[in-house]
Symmetry: C2
Subunit: 411 residues, 2 copies
């Protein structure tokens, strides 16, 4: 692969990780520029990079327009706060610099529309770095679905189910933006980890699309109880009122009548899960129980007690591992980065750039998945009314073909 | 306990089971009358009863008004089709004969209102036989909640998740009414198994109430695929169009902002589950993984891999088994009847009758839980609009105290 001279915007927890643990390890990446609003982050990230034996970035700036404009930077990666993704991406697109952004929800539908419009006008490559599309089990489920093992898919479910009370409630100190998000909005604020793999599996944007959505939020109590229980937080945040409901249930309906139920669940005690569930007329995959159930296999007695089948997905993996993961396992997995997904997603971006191929997660995918946040906020604010889902493709979803990676095994 | 002379309406699969496997075993029950529209069922059930050494019922009739009016019958049990529960119950109440009905959804809100009104006017004891309120783990979760282990409860979930393709698609032959239900309606058609235990836990009708509901149905494809795959069904039912969506997601909002997500899931391949999930600010119970997670227990590493904790609920059962089950285990469990729940629910009805106590699952519970079906049909028919939830208690929910059995450990 050719060498890419990369500029990075956003060096918080995730951004610094990307630079030092991933980009520094890739021999086709040269980190040419770094940008963050905090000077200390710039210096720390630069120092870490050099400690790894990589050259010092030519550009260090607190102004992301300057980073984008710098002649040393030819590709832009956006790892900043959710609120900044849209503007940074638009500016990179206008500067004709290929850009990839980390995940997050959109603040308005208009923002998603302008992202699409700008990408279409400039023709600049754009990708959403939704790593969970490259999860080993997500891709196994996709592969099994493409081979017809589940029959017709009629329903999927998933969630961002992650106990983030520690991070959110300490946001002011850690400079993490989630704190402010939870003060000011009530929405499905982080939909892409689960909706990405599901949207690919359901051919959203390629023969199918979301037509409507309805969201219901529970009351907010988790963070308050957490703060009450921690001496270091009580005094400071005891009276803080969080708008964000603890659990947000959202159900999307597709053009073909398939439904998708997703859950935001980040401020109550729980174990981590993306809860991927695929329900077809001949079988199911369920992340919660790590299991696969197929009509074509008999499971006597299991109807009433499924627990002996818990974790049986392992035995399906050998046969149904997706080609991406077959190749990756063959080459020796770099487990760092959420079990390899981070490598796969960033590698997919640069590989498409290198070969001049269409982006595997393009601007239409990004606009559609991120819009869920804005639409869910709207639904919740109006008492959980159903909200029509915009078509960002201008009708092209009916005929647009999916990129080969996602349609493996169909044809 | 005194002897109760019982008349039974409905001798299908479930009704015949009740008579011959449960009522015939209870020494305080005398089956004085049987009613079904099919003569063969009357004869078969009677023969089975006699084979068990119980006396022949004095009344055998195809007319349920006649059964209700028979002087030999003092208590009426309704095990007939969903569609018949309301009318049979109303007639029994008017005849001043205590009545208990099997579960099912309502066809209209008006039906629920008239049930409440008739019970209030006649003062006749009425109970809904929701056996799952007496499930051992449902009651453990209730008990743990009452002891504050989960903190404030902000969300619950559950479902009737049962692969009934075999039964539904053969309904015409087996005379099972589900076949017709699936042809004519699209609704959360069987909500009480999951909503009953959740409603008790959330004090619905006793300090809290459901204020709104929204339902989204997937397309219907499961039964068609099943029929296509079975030679004996294909010819007969290949062209049958089912209205009932395969998966119906419903979210209810309570007066206090707590939410409840329930799922109907009966026509796709899956394992059986009622999916009870209780989410509080300090812990959770989850039936899917058969596990309990508490802030007060450390679980290092479990955040990212919960599978070693699968099925850990067993170890909580010894400490948190509900008093009902402590007593029942002490007396020697009759595991028949859904693991003992059927005995407990019918015994609770007759015990309350015997002692002149309020019914543990009363007409307000029944109306509220059953109304979900009618309200969800309305929501779905109008494109998943939110529907206001009627208050069947006339405002008494604010002050009405819960029966001791459900509030154990509160005071």
């Amino acid at each position: 692969m050719k060498m890419f001279h990369v500029g990075v915007i956003g060096l918080g927890n995730r951004g610094a990780w990307w630079v030092n643990e991933m980009l520094a390890e890739l021999d086709y990446i040269h980190v040419a520029g770094l940008c963050d609003v905090y000077e200390d982050r710039l210096q720390n990230t630069k120092a870490q990079l050099m400690k790894k034996g990589r050259p010092a970035p030519a550009v260090l700036t607190t102004d992301y327009q300057a980073l984008i404009d710098a002649p040393e930077v030819e590709v832009v990666l956006v790892f900043s706060s959710w609120a900044n993704h849209h503007d940074a991406a638009i500016r990179a697109l206008r500067a004709k610099k290929p850009v990839a952004i980390e995940v997050g929800g959109a603040y308005s539908v208009a923002e998603c529309e302008s992202l699409v419009k700008t990408q279409e006008e400039t023709g600049t490559p754009f990708m959403l770095l939704e790593n969970c599309c490259y999860g080993e089990y997500e891709l196994m489920a996709l592969n099994m679905a493409r081979h017809g093992l589940f029959g017709e898919i009629v329903h999927c479910a998933g969630g961002y189910m992650h106990d983030l009370r520690g991070e959110i409630s300490r946001g002011n100190e850690t400079r993490h933006y989630r704190f402010h998000e939870y003060l000011t909005r009530n929405a499905e604020n982080y939909p892409t980890h689960e909706i990405g793999p599901i949207a690919k599996l359901l051919n959203i944007g390629n023969g199918n699309r979301f037509v409507s959505l309805v969201s219901v939020a529970s009351r907010a109590a988790g963070l308050h109880t957490y703060i009450e229980a921690h001496d270091d937080l009580r005094e400071k945040y005891e009276k803080t009122v969080f708008r964000q409901g603890d659990i947000v249930n959202t159900v999307l309906t597709c053009a073909d009548g398939t439904t998708v139920a997703i859950t935001l669940d980040t401020s109550l005690p729980r174990y981590y899960s993306r809860g991927l569930t695929v329900r077809g007329t001949k079988g199911m995959y369920e992340e919660a129980t790590q299991s696969v159930l197929l009509d074509s296999e008999t499971y006597p007695g299991a109807e009433w007690d499924w627990s002996p089948q818990f974790c049986n997905r392992e035995r399906f993996l050998e046969q149904w591992r997706h080609p991406i993961w077959q190749r990756y396992r063959g080459e020796g997995v770099k487990e760092q980065g959420h079990g390899g997904m981070d490598f796969l997603v960033i590698d997919a971006f640069f590989e498409a750039l290198d070969k001049g191929l269409p982006m595997p997660i393009d601007v239409y995918d990004a606009a559609t998945w991120m819009a869920i946040t804005a639409l869910s906020a709207q639904s919740i604010a109006q008492g959980s009314v159903p909200v029509a889902f915009p078509d960002f493709t201008g009708g092209h979803w009916k005929t647009k073909k999916e990129e080969p990676v996602w349609k493996y095994a169909i044809g």
